[in-house]
């Protein structure tokens, strides 16, 4: 892969209490073979997310906003990106 997969986890208070807290050890949950390919950081707010109309927790992967994010949906997205670049 040319560039790393960039994951930004929203740690805004509402997103955090609505499930974002579960994603705080995401790095450890990512399979070892993908570890090198992924860069994770936290953001207090993400562009395009609206707490009033969208369901938290929010995560952004390579610029794409994911609502109701979970460890499972994130891992699936990582796999999708890797597969598409093969």
């Amino acid at each position: 892969m040319s560039d790393k997969i960039h994951i930004r986890i929203c740690v805004g208070t509402y997103s955090y209490i609505m499930g974002g807290a579960e994603l705080m050890n995401l790095k450890e949950e990512i399979p070892e073979k993908y570890q090198e390919l992924v860069k994770i950081d936290a953001a207090v707010s993400l562009p395009n997310c609206d707490e009033k109309t969208m369901k938290p927790p929010f995560v952004e992967i390579n610029g794409e906003l994911i609502c109701e994010a979970s460890k499972e949906t994130i891992l699936l997205k990582i796999q999708e990106i890797i597969e598409s670049e093969k």
């Binding site: 805004g12 208070t13 955090y16 209490i17 499930g19 579960e22 705080m24 050890n25 207090v44 707010s45």
Partner: protein, 474 residues
């Protein structure tokens, strides 16, 4: 803590409620919360959108501090309940209330024949049933609920595993049989038996067991001229992706005048408990002592395992000592304890060490409603201060602190027990009868300690890691 949607619905309700209770909010908009969360064109969980809204209204009643069963007029709007709560000062000892409308959705614990039944010739389920409760009139085994005594023999003997047991989650979770469905199918909590461990509250997949909140009273006090001091349980420092100083600053932004870390009192508890251990236990081979800082364990000893009561250390809890120190300097201030669990709420009520309790979920909701983002708060390096006694918040931490205050650990045989599982209760029963090789027990009702209290937000393992970081002076 079990992650489920019932938990997130509760947090959404609390956040929406806090938005309207804080400065600039509108009481009338509280009445619209169920409509906003369940608009007409949205899919519904129950029979219709109206029932979903009714359930949300009842859950909000609990958030406003009411017993749902005390409702006398179904048409009383939520905004009216806010006004009633604001006017009454007394807080009752009832912590939990059950949303009967939704509790009914969960059938009483029973044995069910699935479509795996092969209608075999042997019919061991029928042959071995002591109450003749099984018939094959429809061609497949059927259990007559009126005759069934829930003995489970049908499940045991079915060679196709076609019979299953559907439990009542709250009943299964309760370690002291304090909650059970009545003849109408609604869970009743026996307050004389309840030890406030919060397991039923966590276990109910419908979120029917609700904790009554003090948030209305707290907002009222925050808007007044009264001095408000937050006493913070050390477990809080593992809950948010923020430093203790950022957490304190966020609480101040909510309108509190001062924030005090209960680790200050935990240090005193550790010193006194170590002294008690040296005086009463070490060198006295027949004596055994348990910690007493977990109020749920205290209740277990007082209500169920009375032989353990004499083994409880007489040292007071960290909250007690912290409150004592704070009250000496701030006679007229209102104290709010920020708590990881329901048992601590009971301690506050029973001992009057604080005026109100705010649990971690409620605090998170208040911060979210006020749009306070802890991570954005800048803290000067010089303001940072770690406190060792924050380790009280996880299993093993109390022992660690007590040991550090002993002059010698000779003769000490310590062990720790966290979580009131059936196995641990068995161990406690043995201890109550004096059957134990240890002479010092650290006991916490929640597995892994307060970091896993029923009102916590973060994963216990992550919370513990973070608290360790903020406890160490190295």
């Amino acid at each position: 803590m079990i992650k489920n949607n019932a938990m997130f619905i509760r947090r959404e309700l609390l956040t929406r409620l806090c938005t309207q209770l804080q400065e600039g909010g509108s009481l009338e908009l509280i009445d619209r919360i169920p409509l906003e969360m369940k608009p007409r064109n949205n899919s519904h969980i129950r029979c219709c959108v109206h029932k979903d809204r009714a359930v949300l209204k009842y859950k909000l009643m609990a958030c406003l501090g009411f017993n749902i069963e005390d409702e006398s007029d179904e048409l009383t709007p939520l905004s009216e309940y806010v006004k009633i709560t604001e006017e009454k000062e007394d807080i009752t000892d009832v912590r939990l209330t059950v949303v009967d409308e939704v509790c009914l959705s969960c059938s009483p614990g029973n044995y069910v024949v699935t479509n795996m039944c092969q209608s075999c010739d042997g019919r061991p389920c029928q042959v071995n049933c002591p109450k003749d409760a099984i018939n094959f009139s429809s061609g497949r085994a059927q259990i007559d609920a009126n005759d069934c005594v829930n003995c489970g023999l049908c499940l045991k003997y079915c060679p196709f595993h076609a019979i299953i047991y559907t439990p009542v989650p709250c009943e299964e979770a309760c370690p002291v049989d304090a909650i059970s469905k009545d003849k109408n199918g609604i869970a009743n909590i026996n307050h004389d038996l309840c030890i406030f461990c919060g397991r039923c509250f966590e276990a109910c997949p419908y979120g029917a067991v609700m904790e009554k909140s003090h948030i209305v009273n707290i907002y009222k006090a925050l808007k007044s001229e009264e001095e408000m001091i937050a006493l913070v349980a050390p477990a809080l420092y593992g809950q948010f992706a923020a430093s203790p100083e950022q957490v304190h600053a966020a609480i101040i932004q909510l309108g509190f005048d001062k924030v005090v870390d209960v680790a200050v009192g935990a240090e005193i508890t550790a010193q006194k408990e170590a002294h008690e251990l040296e005086e009463e236990i070490l060198g006295n081979p027949d004596q055994k002592m348990t910690t007493s800082c977990c109020p749920s364990y205290q209740e277990l000893a007082k209500k169920h395992l009375t032989n353990l009561e004499e083994k409880l250390s007489t040292t007071q809890t960290p909250l007690y000592y912290t409150s004592e120190l704070v009250k000496q300097e701030n006679i007229n201030a209102k104290l709010v304890f920020i708590s990881p669990c329901m048992a601590k709420k009971h301690e506050v009520f029973a001992t009057k060490v604080a005026d109100y309790t705010l649990n971690f979920e409620e605090l998170g909701s208040m911060l979210a409603a006020a749009e306070i983002e802890m991570q954005s708060i800048k803290i000067e390096e010089t303001e940072k201060k770690n406190l060792e006694a924050r380790v009280f918040s996880y299993s093993g931490g109390v022992t660690e602190m007590v040991k550090s205050h002993l002059q010698s650990t000779e003769g000490l045989k310590e062990t720790k027990l966290s979580g009131f599982s059936k196995e641990n209760i068995k161990q406690l029963k043995a201890l109550a009868l004096g059957k134990s090789d240890y002479n010092f027990y650290e006991i916490m009702a929640c597995e892994e300690g307060c970091v896993n209290g029923c009102n916590t937000i973060a994963k216990p393992s992550l919370a513990k890691r973070q608290i360790k970081k903020y406890s160490s002076n190295n």
